[in-house]
Each structure stands twice: as C-alpha cells, then as structure tokens.
Symmetry: C2
Subunit: 397 residues, 2 copies
C-alpha cells in the first residue's frame, strides 16, 4: 500500500503555505508585538506606501473641530519606514492591562492590521484587537480554567411574530449535572446584537474566570437581540450580508420590553433555572441599560438584581408605548418590593453622565435604594467590561 501511493504530506503544506503568501500577501512580520515591558510594537510591510498611521484607543486623544464643536477625538501617530519597507511604531510607554482596538491608515485608508487575525466588529466598524494582561484584563483572557458552553440558538417570539437568534452561556458542569441555576439577562446597546457581549464584552471569558476564582456563582447568561424587529445579528438572518447600521435595527419603541416575557419563557422552559426573583438578574449597557430599567419596573416581581451600565434613561419624544407610561408608579411598585441590588454605573466623561445624575437624584428624593459606581472614561466598551466584572460577583448571594 505504502509502495503504491507515494504522497509526501509536505506537498500539501508547502504548496498551500506558498499559495497563501502569494495570494493574500501574508505578512511574515509580527504585529502587534507585546514587548516584555508591555510597550507594544506595530509593524506593517508596505514598501510602496507613502504614509502609514496608527489609530487606536491607547493613543492620547486630540481635540478636533467637529460639527458638534471642539471634541476629544482618538489620536493617531505616524509609523516610520525602515530600509526594507517595513513600517514600525512602538508605544513610548507601557500600556496598562486592557483589551485595546486599533487600525492602520494606509495612504489615507483605514484598514485592519493584516498581521493580526484577531478583530472585533462594533456596528459597521471592524478593528484589530489585542490584550495586555494583568489586573482586571486577566478576566478577559482565556485561562486554564473550566469553560462554559456558548450556544447560538433560535427561539420563537409569538409576541414579535419572529423566530429570533439568542446567545446563551451555560456554566461549566451545566450539561453533566442536575442543578438548577440563576439567570443573568445581559443586554447590548444600540447598534449591537446577540453577538456584542460575547465579542466586545468578553462575557464568556469574564464568567469562566470569575466562576473559577469563586467570585461569582455559576449562572446562565442570556444574551438577547434587543432590536425588536430583527431576527438575528447582521449576516445571521435571511436578509443576508447587510451592512450593519447604528440605528438601522434599533427602535426603542417599547416592543422589546413588552415582549421580554417570550425570552424568559423560552429560557425557563429550556434550561434548568431557578424560577424565582432572587435568581434573576438583568443588566445592560446604554440602550441595554434603558431596556433593563424599563423591563425591571414593568415586571416588578421578576428581577432582584438590576444593572444600569451607562444607561439611557428616558424614552425619546413621541414614543407612545404603554411601557413608558406611569413611570413614577411603576418605579414605586418596583422599589416597594425591595430589589436586592439596583446598580447604576457610569463614567465621568459619559455624555449620559448628567442624565444618570438626574436619575439618581430622583431616586434619592423618593428614598429608593441603589448602589452607584463611577469610573473614569465615557461611553465605551472598556467601561462595560469593567461594569460586568464588578456586577456579576454581587449576584445571587
């Protein structure tokens, strides 16, 4: 047999590797390179390019004139070309622990780093990413700990008359045990979908790591699609490879909140859940914080834990949904039932900062109990990952 067929496996490998290089211009340089001192070096092989810049959320912001006035915008830096045509930039200072995003700008065109296959989509923008480990950022890494399962499923929403995609994290041991678990409903912001918390939020890593450290109770995490008219994330529905848009699928018209019981019914029918208020939490960022606020007050017996992360608070003008009526009465009903935790987190430079201060002032006036958590920075994922990491350990205790 062996004599009959002489097939050198190196043929596959050599040929394919060669073809790949030639085909797609594989970059045989390392980028980004995280140096021993946590400075980071970026490289791009571009002998014919005239100018290469780097834009990223670790580069100091620069004030720029915009239609909205003088605004702090993310800065950019220029790379330097060596005699082999490789452009390079090393951060002057070590970067602190975090998940960072960046793009190159090649002769004016913003592109991801061809040397780095790790990217995250945020609405219609795709950026290259890397993690500087240490401190809180170690929660964002895949570590040698037991891992939960992440499933993409579809559920029926009779209320919305749609079959909708949903992302569900079950903790390590769920499938092989018989235990019932508490549930965290984790909601995304405008422009997001059922992929946002997994991709941008590193939610499965944060849960795996907090559970392994004994800091969080094992729980089921349900990541819904908060755009009531949308079946699934862009590319995952029958509409095909559409271009994602910030408000394209976002309605904030009360329909998502009104039909939230469809989701809870699906989860509590299909998973081994503890079906009581003390075993249910809901939180979300921006529009997802808005949803969490309104869902938890609409169904005051449902959630003992509520997290508003950089939340929008009030509905936009002209929305007539019943969900947003009688807010004072509904909040009173909710707080009279004494939720175990009503957590409000916001960054100091968030454009929703004042709205959140006004909201907590109104809670103070009524004597409603909440916990306030303030960070630096604004309306960004860096904060939302931190808020999730802080919120989860307080649940179901």
């Amino acid at each position: 047999m062996k004599k009959l067929i002489t097939l050198a496996i190196f043929l596959i490998t050599g040929m394919a590797a060669f073809a790949q290089q030639a085909l797609w211009g594989g970059q045989n340089i390392v980028s980004p390179e995280i140096n021993a001192d946590n400075t980071v070096t970026f490289r791009l092989n571009a002998p014919q390019a005239m100018k290469i810049e780097l834009a990223g959320d670790f580069i100091p912001t620069q004030k720029r004139e915009t239609p909205m006035g003088l605004v702090d915008m993310p800065g950019s830096v220029e790379l330097t070309k060596n005699d082999k045509g490789v452009w390079e930039y090393t951060t002057p200072e070590p970067l602190s622990p975090e998940l960072y995003s960046y793009t190159f700008v090649v002769d004016g065109v913003k592109v991801t780093d061809p040397g780095n296959v790790y990217m995250i989509r945020d609405v219609a923008s795709v950026t290259s990413v890397f993690i500087i480990g240490g401190e809180h950022a170690d929660l964002y890494k895949v570590n040698k700990v037991p891992h939960g399962t992440v499933a993409r499923r579809w559920y029926e929403s009779p209320g919305l008359k749609l079959t909708r995609r949903i992302t569900i994290y079950t903790p390590p041991g769920y499938e092989t045990g018989k235990e019932e678990y508490p549930v965290l409903y984790l909601l995304h912001g405008a422009g997001g979908d059922e992929e946002a918390w997994i991709a941008l939020g590193r939610s499965s890593q944060i849960l795996d790591n907090l559970i392994a450290q004994g800091k969080a109770k094992p729980m089921i995490v349900v990541m819904t699609n908060g755009n009531a008219g949308q079946e699934a994330a862009p590319g995952e529905a029958a509409e095909g490879f559409i271009r994602p848009s910030f408000m394209g699928a976002t309605r904030m018209d009360g329909e998502f909140e009104a039909n939230f019981p469809d989701i809870m019914k699906f989860v509590e029918t299909n998973y081994r859940t503890i079906k009581q208020k003390s075993a249910r939490a809901i939180c979300g960022l921006s529009m997802g914080g808005f949803h969490s606020l309104h869902i938890s007050k609409q169904y005051p017996d449902m959630f003992d834990y509520v997290g508003l992360f950089s939340a929008a608070v009030m509905p936009r003008e002209g929305v007539t949904s019943e969900i947003y009526l009688n807010t004072d009465e509904k909040l009173k009903a909710q707080f009279d039932k004494k939720p175990k935790l009503y957590w409000i987190a916001i960054g100091k430079t968030d454009f929703l900062y004042k709205a959140n201060q006004d909201y907590i002032k109104s809670l103070d006036e009524k004597g409603y109990k909440y916990v306030y958590y303030e960070t630096g920075d604004g309306h960004i994922w860096r904060n939302w990952r931190i808020y999730l990491s802080e919120f989860v350990p307080m649940l179901f205790k």
Copy 2:
C-alpha cells in the same frame, strides 16, 4: 419624571455615529454591491492612494513564475479612481452562484474591504467575503427555515490529557424533542480547527437548508479540532492571541486518530444519539479526509458512512504510529464489513488528484466498493462546500 430628565436619545446615536466615522474612517460607500445581473461592483474611498488592486477567487488565474515553477496563481485587477477619490471596479461578467473571497491591495498592502464587515479567516489569512445566491450557493445562505443550534463546548480527552474545544450542531427540534439522532463527524484540514467548517464551510447553513428541504435526515454534526496537541482554535485557548500557522498545530502523527474514541464517548454520553454503525458517519477535507480514512479503518465497526474530500491518503515518512501499520489488513477488515457508503471526492486540478487515483485503483484491485465523485477545480473550499452538500443527503437512509 419626564420633566426631571431631558435626555434626547438622538444624542447617543448622533454622537456615536459621528465618532465612529471620524474614529475608524467608516466608508459611506457600498462595497461590494451585487448588481441585478450578478455582476459585482467593488469600491474603496481612497483619495490619497496611488494604486488600488483587487485580488479574489473570481478573477481569472494568471500564470506566474514561482519557486515551484510556472504556477496558476489567482489574478488581480486594478480599480479606477473617480474625481471624488473613490476607486471602483465592476466584474465584466456576472458571477455564478458561489461564496467568494477577495482583498484589496492599497499601494501594495493587501487588506480586507473596509466597507464589508463579513470576513472569514483561513489559517492566518483573513479575506472579505460575499455570496452570489442561486443553485448550490443558496445552501450557503441563511434562509427562512428552522435553524439548528451551534454550541462551542469543551470536552475532556483523557488520552490527550487535554480539555479541548469542540463545535456541535444539533438539528432544529433537538432540544425540545426526545428523539435520538445519527451523528456526522466533520473534520477540517491542516491549518484548520473546530471553527473551520462553520466559518469557511457554511456547515450550519448547509445542514439547516438540506434538512428543511427534506433532502437530509436531521442529524448531529460534530466539528472537532484535529490538531492533537491543541486545546482550541487560535485565540480560544490559554495561549492567547497567537498567530495561526499552517502546520504549527498539525502533527498527523496518529494521536488524533488514536484518541478519537474520547470524542465519540463525549458525544454519545452527552447527546441523544443512535449508538450504532448505521447512524455514524465520518468525513473530512484534506488532512480531515486522511483522518477519516484512518479512523474508519482503525475502528471498522464504527462508521457506515465515510467521506474523503480531497483527502491526503498516506502518512508522511517517518511516522511510526500503530494507526498507520497494517493498512492492507485494516482496510480488508473495514470493507469485509461492507460500509454502506465509502465516498471519495476530488477536483481535477487538485495536487492530490494522482494520489487519490492511485488509492481508488488499489481499492478496485481488491474489489472494495466505493463511490467516486469528481469535480473541476482543486484543493479549495469551494469544492469542500459542494462535497458536504452532496455527501449529507446520502447519509442514514
């Protein structure tokens, strides 16, 4: 309440959308645009660039001088700049139904299309993708049909002393029913991992669509990681955001085959499976075809359906695993037990074409029954999606 807090939701949307544009250079042009006649227009906003090219698998190949001689290499074309700085190219002919890959080349730098968020990673290359619908390519689309669940799980391999990631498709209705299902083990090639068939192979769409059309039996599909030393796909294991390499994790030393029973045990313990030979299939591409060949002959009572897609056949020189010993005897044992289907598929220009012809000649000499399926093209995903679409309807009948 409403008076207390005046929060215009448009602030979130306007601000964030503006910041995104400025930050990441959002391209407000449509690319790719699939025109009514299935020609496709590509666009890139690049007023400062000197030259923009397009490389893609729909552009006729060009013969190029390489270290391996004159080789057919994918071709490229130049885009034309208009007076607004937008570069454009429209294919001269309509494209036939298929999932296509492409990249731009901006002043010599190969990059994905900033106007298209849909990308697929193949080893260390990321390309932009789009689908021209119709015919077989409709199987690759998400259609309005019941959808199965795709779960990323982790299983213990005592043999490999690793906890390993695995991707599992369960058909529509699995979770809510009590039925037991047949299982297809679907294996990737060198450089791949447990994400390859989902991302490049569109396996969950193909299964959803074939099941909905009544052409395939509902089945569980198990997509393993065939690199015996690897816990998980790049970026999904504790080693972090490593650069994927073609043979980096690929050993082909017999260890994956020898420890395949760990995977089957996990699947048959954790899922409602029909535990008999007639309800088990195994297939794979390239190295995965090699694995399917050697696993199915090593465990001749296990699989009634075997699919070799562009398979490598013989182990490389110097590998001493017991798996590859006594091939003639093991094949005889396998074929004496009359598997229901032994399916060999290959493309005419595949560099493994001759090896596969030699292999089927050796089967002919022994009088072993198989089915041979030949296509055009070579060692490419276009063929492997077609092979999966052809193979699945023949299973478990």
